[in-house]
Amino acid sequence: MAVKRNIIIIITGVAIVLLIRLFYLQVLDGSYKITAANNALRYDVEYPARGMIYDRNGNVIVENIITYDIMVTPRELKTVDTAELSKIFRIQETEISDILKKIDRKKSFNAFTFLKQVPADIYAGFRERADHFPGFYSVARTMRVYQRKIGGNVLGYVQEVDTSVIRKNPYYRQGDYIGKSGIEESYEEVLRGKKGVSVYLRNSHGITVEPYEGGRLDSAAIPGRSLTSSIDADLQEYIQEIMINKAGSVVAIEPATGEILALVSSPIFYPEMLSGVGRQQNYARLREDVTNPLYNRAIMSAQPPGSTFKLVNGLIGLQEGTLTVNTSCYCAGRYPYGKGVGCHIHSSPVDFVNSIRVSCNAYYCYAFRNILENKKYPSIDSALMAWRARVQKFGFGRKLGIDMPSERQGIVASKNLYNKYYGVGRWNPLSIISLSIGQGEIGATALQLANMCATVANRGYYYIPHIIKHIDEGVHVDPKYYEKQYCEIDEKYFDYSIEGMYLAVNGGGTAGRAAIHDIKVCGKTGTSENPHGANHSIFVCFAPKENPKIAVAAIVENAGFGGTFAAPIASLAVEKYLKREISRTWEETRMKETDLITNNPAYAKKKFKF
């Protein structure tokens, strides 16, 4: 009968389709066997020790101790003696049962972290009785230990990876650590090493039976490489100490190499605050702190450089030929054109060298106006842009390329900025005259100022500032840090600037407090006008005058004139570095004891807002 036959044909047809599909899945396609094995694999991860960090003199700054993470495989868990566990790990029994309750619900083979960073002595107690606790095992992890009190802005810190990192980078898994900010972040890949892994196959009872594929996929952990930082730990600690209770930043560079000797951002935080127990609370506290310790001022906070910028304007004038070293100018206490620019009382008239010594505002107003009205350029627009290009050659208004995260570029005025602000053709040299003395539309970080100072000390070039000196085992430091960067100003002009800086410190100039009796310090003060509160005190200096060993820039926020705070602090740093001890203990004490934060109205106002 046709209908019966048809129905039998349909049934047979379906059976044949299913058989073909099964034959394909089970016999022809081998990929499911591999995936099935993957499902049942056990991965034992071996964590490498993170690389150590040394300072430039070989002192250990950061090293590791071994701690243990106690893990639990939920499926292998039997009844747990929480009382004994509580005794071993010295935590509350209820806490333990809470963790176990969370774990117990998921009867999986994926291990759970039961406790983190258990110190070796407690772990020893657990290891003795480990066989009482089936399903529990331990994984050795290393933890950072800080031998020196170096700020977290330089070193950075280490913390557990979050999901955004895991999503972006396949290397990281839940529970891994990663370097955040500072050296720990920028040299993460060097420091972290490589995790090792052993893969085991489970049988149908979930028991690991054998290395998977004969251990072909296994790899040993490779420990992280050690780093030698260019930081001088003694100097760094010393500057941190004298910057106590002051907001600001100090950067010290070795001019001959561009190596950063110290990079202080104050107020400070220490890396240990953001690792291990209490991390969460500390982080919240640091974030809410109105003085913002997490903000790396030294490379992020751009301030008008004030009179220190006269060095740059003077050199540009000389190079452009709109100014000569013999140009002399009479100053009656102010620059009389436009809205006028005030000056302070000093001997008059002044030539180029003395203009730096006494930091004459009028002199630089004339000089800057000449730069902008240079007949070489068809318009003031192009003159400004030419000036801007020269300023950028000194490292202003762009990222220098330091090997640290979150460097900011600062500001250098451009024609677009003024065209937008005043309108095209509606501004002239007088509208922007404040640039001549480093105020207005210009902002530089302490790093950029220190770099500028190093450029002057080197008489025309710098090396990109960097915090790394050496990496172990054939990993090379980025070659860009070994290339001279020229600022395209003739070497001969620098002698006059340096002479001016020398006299500013040693010849009755503005920076007398920076003088050290047997070191030839050259410096330039600056006062950064601050519309939100008291002016910032700025100072750049290098020493010795011949063959400079150190260039320092200091910005002390809300401290007024550059000579009073920034100069002594920078000078103490120079003395500490060059002589390893301080002769002017009275100055040192005064600096340590000055508190510019507690009664600072700038912070009081902010506090009120919160």
């Binding site: 019966k4 899945l25 995936t35 099935a36 149908s204």
Partner: protein, 476 residues
């Protein structure tokens, strides 16, 4: 005394053997899904429960064999009405499990009335067709048959139990056996294909395909081919003009609209021509075209508005439109891994890592075939398919030898149900059908399912055994 002997002697023991093979093999695999080897009589575990249900099923099976087969004939409608009442009760006081309200609970005891409704509907359908005057020709009778099936289907659908509702659709085979045109079956198959293609292919392609099939149907239907050539050739010309106009002018009418417009125009002209010539009009091609276009057009709507997100995900996963091995596709992905990893000979009893380590969800119930595939390999899975095939064909042969329409129809009912469950369940585990949660007959863990499939089968065996006695009282 003699009668009882004869009845028990005439029972088809080959079917009982297959039944025992399937359920014992099922129990072994359920046992294997449990993570650690355990006591077989542990009634807190799935295999223990299944063993208990097997014993209960045996008792019921024996009872079925003892009760007179006349009982099922006489009470067929009563049982059907009782099942309908249970379904309505489930809607009112049922327990909701996984978004479908399909369980009734009495104390600790739970069961799915939909399982029982399959049995009841089979009996009612058999009874309906068994009436001596009943012929599946008149509209009234067709309506009766369709209503008998539709009522429980609708109630099960209201419980949002899609799987069981689809099972009722399998009664189409019964209607086919009882005289429904094969073209209806073919049209249902075509509808499914059309529905899926609508989701996967652009509409102009689909409409073109429908037009082509319409032309083929027309050629089969009309003896007088001259009419066709008169209609088709101008139609194609018209289509060409439409497409050319569309391309040359700026108007951007979709091709599918041009196709539909052209074909409808050809239809109208042809009908007028035929009326004019006083020839007989065949409506089949026209109906086919219009209904197909409607289905295709509404498929998108149905898909996006009637189906739930998880249904859509499952369908899209099966079709490979959206591969999502974490969520919707997880079950099938893991299921394919388990089955695929079994290889040719399997990993051996209790040696399957995938099933024992709980990678496949629902592995003792709807996904029991994974364990078979993993532990017994292609040999085991092929054997299971072969046994089902053998069972189904044997049941058809038995059905065909029945002397009463009642028994034969009932036989085809259980063939339809078992066939549908078997096909969809295994196709689902190997990724050929979307995940519809229906169990594998006699093998999946679950009391309601095992018991109802047992009753379904043993009632037929009982009917068959009385068939041989040749008692005249069954001749309606």
């Amino acid at each position: 005394m003699q009668r009882r002997n004869s009845s028990s002697n005439k029972i088809d023991f080959l079917i009982i053997l297959i039944y025992l093979m399937l359920s014992v093999f099922g129990l072994m695999n359920i046992y294997s899904t449990q993570s650690d080897t355990q006591e077989i009589f542990d009634f807190t575990k799935k295999h223990g429960m299944q063993l208990m249900w097997m014993l209960i099923s045996f008792i019921f099976a024996t009872a079925v064999l003892v009760i007179s087969s006349r009982f099922y004939l006489v009470f067929a409608y009563h049982i059907y009405i009782f099942a309908i009442i249970l379904l309505i009760l489930t809607l009112l006081i049922g327990i909701e499990v996984k978004s479908s309200k399909s369980w009734l609970g009495i104390g600790n005891f739970r069961f799915q009335p939909a399982e029982f409704a399959k049995l009841a509907t089979s009996l009612a359908l058999a009874r309906l067709f068994g009436q001596s005057e009943f012929k599946f020709k008149t509209f009234k009778n067709r309506l009766k048959a369709i209503m008998t099936i539709s009522l429980p289907t609708a109630l099960v659908l209201l419980q949002r139990d899609w799987g069981s509702a689809l099972v009722f659709g399998s009664f189409m085979f019964v209607l086919y056996r009882q005289g429904m045109s094969g073209s209806v079956l073919a049209y249902i198959a075509f509808t499914i294909v059309l529905f899926i293609s609508t989701l996967m292919a652009p509409p102009d392609m689909i409409y073109a395909a429908i037009t082509l099939i319409t032309i083929i149907i027309a050629f089969i239907d009309y003896k007088d081919r001259s009419v066709l050539t008169k209609a088709v050739l101008p139609g194609l010309a018209l289509l060409g003009i439409g497409i050319a106009y569309n391309n040359l002018s700026d108007s951007n009418i979709e091709y599918e609209k041009i196709i539909v417009a052209t074909v409808l125009m050809v239809f109208v002209i042809s009908v007028i021509y035929l009326l004019f010539k006083r020839k007989k009009i065949k409506w089949a091609p026209i109906l086919f075209f219009i209904s197909s276009i409607t289905i295709s057009y509404s498929a998108d709507y149905t898909y996006n508005n009637v189906l739930k997100t998880h249904h859509r995900d499952r369908i899209e996963d099966m079709l490979g439109i959206k591969v999502d091995i974490k969520n919707a596709g997880y079950n099938v992905y893991q299921s394919k891994i388990a089955i695929g990893s079994g290889g040719f000979a399997g990993k051996g009893f209790l040696e399957g890592t995938q099933t024992k380590l709980n990678f496949v969800p629902e592995q003792s119930t709807d996904f029991i075939f994974c364990t078979i595939g993993e532990e017994w390999g292609f040999i085991g899975s092929a054997a299971v398919i072969f046994i089902y095939c053998f069972l189904l064909i044997r049941l058809i042969l038995i059905a065909e030898r029945q002397k009463t329409v009642f028994a034969r129809t009932y036989g085809y009912c259980i063939v339809s149900i078992i066939f549908f469950h078997f096909t969809i369940n295994i196709a689902m585990t190997v990724g050929l059908a979307p995940v519809i949660g229906i169990p594998l007959p006699y093998m999946s863990a679950g009391g309601s399912s095992l018991l109802s499939f047992t009753l379904l089968l043993f009632i037929f065996l009982k009917l068959d055994s009385t068939n041989h006695t040749g008692k005249p009282w069954l001749q309606y």
